[in-house]
């Protein structure tokens, strides 16, 4: 049974418990950071930060909107990075959970092509081990029937995890509630990903890659993988739309 996350950003307060818990569970050292004019730190995902709370703000009709986005790998259902993989066994999908896992063999992958394949700009390279790295859905914990660390630690109820079917139901329910206060609320790329975000505002006001980026700088002829992903052919999309109303 595939699993899914529902990340309800309307409940996120950017306490960054998930960001810290993620790296503590994985025993990653702190990366040296600098203040650069925002609370968002480190500025981007790193090989030691698989989860990052992004901060963004804008003014609308004299009211401040301060949006928080706990960014992480979406564990796509048809993962473009897996399709782009040139090394067998380097990027695999755990069928039991739907987790996309980068293995030891990812050392041999071409990092640039894997990263550019990702519509959410998630993969990073560990300069020491040369592996390509990202969130692995806490597969070690899942195999021991434990919740992913970010979900366990979230005090606000923003991070939810479970059977995909259950999460889709929860997503629809929460969307209906949040839309009462925030008419722009929506679920992001729900049909295509295992990590579903609920945002209360236009996705671009959260993060450039909050929704799948369909552009491709390489401009290859034909349909790029990102376009495929952004395209509306996934069978699940219909269900998603019916749930979203």
């Amino acid at each position: 049974m595939p699993k899914a996350f529902l990340i309800d950003t309307s409940r996120c307060t950017a306490c960054r418990g998930c960001q810290v818990a993620c790296k503590e569970w994985k025993n990653f050292p702190a990366v040296p950071t600098k203040q650069h004019g925002t609370h968002q730190n480190p500025p981007d995902l790193t090989h030691y930060n698989f989860k990052l709370v992004r901060f963004s703000e804008h003014m609308e009709n004299g009211t401040v909107h301060w949006n928080f986005f706990p960014d992480q790998c979406r564990h796509c259902i048809d993962a473009p990075c897996l399709a782009a993989s040139a090394v067998p066994g380097a990027i695999i999908k755990d069928e039991a959970t739907g987790a996309i896992i980068y293995t030891e063999k990812s050392k041999k992958e071409d990092f640039a092509s894997i990263r550019s394949a990702c519509p959410y700009d998630i993969p990073r390279k560990d300069p020491k081990t040369k592996r390509i790295v990202k969130c692995d859905m806490c597969i070690d914990r899942l195999q021991a029937n434990l919740l992913p660390m970010c979900v366990k630690t979230c005090a606000m109820g923003a991070m939810n995890f479970g059977e995909r079917s259950d999460m889709l139901k929860l997503a629809a329910k929460r969307l209906a509630t949040v839309q009462q206060e925030f008419p722009k609320a929506q679920l992001l790329n729900m049909a295509d990903v295992s990590v579903i975000y609920l945002v209360a505002d236009a996705p671009a006001t959260y993060h450039k890659f909050a929704v799948a980026d369909a552009s491709d700088s390489t401009n290859a002829p034909g349909m790029t993988r990102k376009e495929m992903l952004a395209g509306a052919f996934s069978p699940l999309r219909k269900i998603a739309q019916s749930l979203q109303g």
Binding site: R141, N145, L146, L147, K152, A155, M156, G157
Partner: protein, 304 residues
Amino acid sequence: MQTIEVETPAALRCIETALSRAVKDIPALTPLLEAFGPLLTERARLRQTAPGWTGPALSIDAERFNQGAFVLAQTEFGGGFEDMSELLPEAARTLLPVMARSFPAIAEELTTLGAAIESGALTPQALAGAGFGESVEVPGVSPMTLNFAASELVRPFVERQAEDLAAMVKVLPWNQAHCPVCGGAPNMSVLRRKEDESEFIQAKGGQRFLRCSCCTTEWKHKRVSCPACGCEEPDELLNLRDPARAHERADACSRCKAFVLCLDTAELAELPDLDVAALTMLPLEIQTRQQGYKPLAEHPWSSL
């Protein structure tokens, strides 16, 4: 009284996944799991089709209930579950063969018992009586086997009725350590995460629910306290556990030497069936007994 309602179809799936996970995680328990697994599954199946409470809607005196008078103690007609004896012969036809396969040592006795039920030598009423602990004699069947089999037979019907009865007192406060429906003692407990979407901060540790050994009703009970003697002194309350399976614990009280098994689900990705969970906790249960603690109530396999 805050109770947890379990959807039945999900419950079946839950048993299966819990069983296969348990077999994978603790190979040493395989024989036991293989013995009781089919029994639990069959019982769950029977429960699905069992009728609920068909008696009158009960008028519960909230004040008496608050002071510990459980639902069945407040019924006007003798204080028991509704008679399900007529349904037992049919249930025996599916359940007894499953038990016979699972427990070869008593297979012959179970076959004899089945025949006695079919022939009418053992009336449904007497069978139900045996299920509730009355001493009934059937030639060729030991009293132990008879009680074991009969109680497993009535259990799905009891559980299903209890579900309906528990719903009638859902909103009333209940602070006792015995079952709010039938007055039974708990043989299992579970810490559950509280989901409340109106809350800014979600409780992480979870509330404790005690689970009735007779009818599996669950009710919320103060977490840091001994359900047997009420002791609240943390120094006296122990959590015995295997560090490798930290979510399984025996909550023991050094003051009164009682314990109740506890499954901490706060961090679990999937909630296992609680009977299977209790079954996988048998090694812990045995260790706890060896340290001189006694359970508030037993499981069918406790004495094996």
